[in-house]
């Protein structure tokens, strides 16, 4: 009979209507400005720069190699390489970006800059509260606005950050070992050099 399905449907909507007053679980909406849900781990919108330690200028991982700038498809990254070198978080002197700007009104969130970065210095952010009343300066993020600590990165992408940290630590250890072995080799070579240098010197008077 006509109307059977209608009655069934109306029972369903009535159940939802009264159910939404009874159980809070039914309500799927989040009252946005007051309460915010954490973004899921795979979320991404715009890139940010990772720094180690507490000081964003000193701990900046970026060495201004400009690969991301060259790879960026919409050309939204602008980097100016520094003339001098500053020690990075490991104490090694490195170049650093004097200027690092990303125009997020141009950025298309493709993540290519993240893929190509050999230093794990640029990662994708999840912050979506980016609306501004200044459409030029407000959307052109400078170095300071782009810098986020490694702790922040660990918070928004835990799995990814752990992998990156492990990789970096391994690399650091390897470099340290390499440096150590290099130092040892150098020391040994020097020692050999001195002995070989000494021998003819000692033999010369003969």
């Amino acid at each position: 009979m006509v109307g059977e399905g209608i009655l069934k449907g109306m029972a369903e909507t009535a159940r939802n209507f009264f159910g939404s007053f009874v159980s809070k679980d039914r309500l799927t909406t989040v009252q946005y400005p007051e309460e915010r849900e954490l973004q899921i781990e795979a979320a991404r919108d715009f890139p940010f720069l990772v720094y180690d330690g507490a000081d964003w200028q000193q701990g900046m991982r970026c060495v201004a190699c400009q690969i991301c700038e060259k790879e960026c498809p919409p050309k939204c990254i602008f980097i100016e390489k520094s003339k001098d070198k500053k020690p990075d978080a490991n104490g090694k002197p490195q170049f650093y970006p004097a200027v690092f700007n990303i125009d997020i009104s141009v950025c298309m969130s493709c993540q290519i800059c993240v893929e190509v970065c050999p230093f794990d210095a640029i990662k994708m952010n999840v912050d979506y509260n980016l609306s501004t009343d200044d459409r030029f300066a407000g959307l052109l993020l400078n170095k300071q606005r782009l810098s986020k600590s490694n702790d922040y990165y660990r918070k928004i992408h835990p799995t990814e950050a752990t992998a990156v940290d492990a990789r970096l630590a391994e690399e650091r250890a390897r470099q340290k070992a390499k440096a150590k072995s290099a130092a040892e080799a150098k020391a040994a070579a020097e020692a050999r050099l001195t002995t070989t240098a000494v021998q003819p010197a000692s033999g010369e008077p003969r």
Partner: protein
């Protein structure tokens, strides 16, 4: 006891008495005119307020049916949302297409709102509370109701846009198709009451046997007539599931695509006011108008009952809107001509048989069968005529 009864009666007539008291200060020559102005102003204010309340209720209700909160930012529980919407639509730019017929484009919303408010002239809102007691009140109501079609077509035609024209065409086809069952469904009441005056129709229903009222909805033909009337009224007021003329997903907003700002708000208002008017007519014809549902509740003022019934019908409208998807054009037409029309015609016959059969259970049995059996058969006919075939379009090759 008599004191209490008198108090109840005075409360019932409080608006009538207040109007009389106000008018008594005026010279006799001005009294009829001022009385009319006063009543019209009251109708406009009350029903415009009801419109504001309904938009809020609708958004809240629909939200809850979809497990959302609905508006909750402006005022307590979002109750001031209609005011915010009004301010917004008033401050918006009024855009008129360059090629539009400016005069008709301007007149269409005005006519729609005027026509829908004119419907209230014959609706008895309470005991002795009717603007004019026309002896052809029901006829007047339907005549004015068909003016809305004119307004809709004026809007669609004058905008010079394909969407508005399509929407207007759809609206005209739909409204004229459903006007037929709407009027035919109400004829049963006129047959029984023997009057076209809305006041006497309500007076007939405001009597009681035991505690039960003599509402026409409590008879087989009255119930069928009420359901058919409400379905046709839903289609008349272009509400979901019959909102094809608007069809947001297909033709943007139908005949009012090219309207913005306050003219758009006027269309919105006109549609809701028209919906209240047809609901009010359904109440008048089938649900006993302002009469109380039980004889022991007659002390409650009559206008309270009218508005309670109106709000109940509005809630059902909202409920239906939250439940049903939009019909397709052919489904809409099939429902009107192949189900509604035969049902209303058969209902006329049922009402006649009810009138001439002696009162008792045999008349109930015969008339109920006459309503239920055709309904089942006709709905089966609607269901089983599905022809599946490969669709070929003339221009597709």
């Amino acid at each position: 006891m008599t004191h209490l009864a008198q108090l109840a009666q005075e409360l019932d007539q409080i608006f009538v008495l207040a109007a009389h008291w106000l008018l008594s200060y005026l010279p006799a020559a001005l009294q009829p005119l001022c009385s009319a102005i006063l009543s019209v102003a009251a109708i406009i204010i009350v029903f415009a307020t009801l419109f504001a309340l309904t938009t809020w209720l609708e958004r809240k209700g629909l939200g809850r049916m979809q497990n959302r909160y609905g508006p909750n930012r402006v005022g307590p529980f979002g109750m001031l949302q209609p005011i915010a919407d009004g301010v917004k639509s008033l401050t918006k730019e009024d855009i008129v297409p360059i090629t539009a017929d400016h005069a008709v484009h301007f007149l269409a919303p005005v006519l729609l709102v005027t026509a829908s408010f004119m419907d209230y002239a014959v609706l008895p809102i309470g005991r002795n509370m009717v603007l004019v007691n026309l002896n052809a009140g029901v006829l007047f109501f339907f005549a004015i109701g068909s003016m809305m079609e004119l307004a809709v077509f004026m809007a669609g035609w004058s905008s010079r846009s394909k969407y508005t024209l399509l929407g207007a065409m759809r609206a005209i086809a739909q409204m004229i198709s459903y006007e037929v069952p709407l009027v035919l469904a109400s004829i049963v009441v006129i047959m029984q009451a023997g009057s076209l005056s809305t006041v006497s129709i309500v007076n007939m229903q405001a009597t009681y046997s035991g505690i039960w009222p003599h509402w026409f909805v409590f008879t087989p033909w009255g119930f069928a007539g009420f359901v058919l009337f409400m379905v046709a009224a839903t289609a008349e007021s272009n509400r979901s599931p019959f909102d094809l003329p608007e069809g947001e997903s297909e033709i943007i907003a139908g005949y009012y695509t090219e309207y913005s700002g306050f003219k758009f708000a006027l269309f919105f208002l006109g549609e809701y006011i028209g919906m209240f008017a047809t609901s009010g007519m359904a109440i008048t014809l089938f649900l006993g108008g302002w009469s109380a549902p039980f004889s022991f509740l007659t002390w409650v003022p009559s206008y309270v009952w009218f508005f309670a019934k109106l709000l109940a019908i509005i809630s059902v409208f909202i409920w239906i809107r939250g439940t049903l998807p939009r019909l397709r054009m052919d489904q809409l037409m099939n429902l009107a001509w192949e189900f509604m029309l035969p049902m209303t015609l058969l209902n006329l016959l049922t009402a006649g048989i009810w009138h001439f059969m002696p009162a008792g259970s045999s008349r109930w049995l015969v008339c109920s069968t006459m309503v239920v059996v055709p309904c089942i058969l006709l709905s089966r006919g609607l269901k089983h005529r599905k022809k599946f075939q490969v669709r070929t379009y003339h221009y597709s090759e």
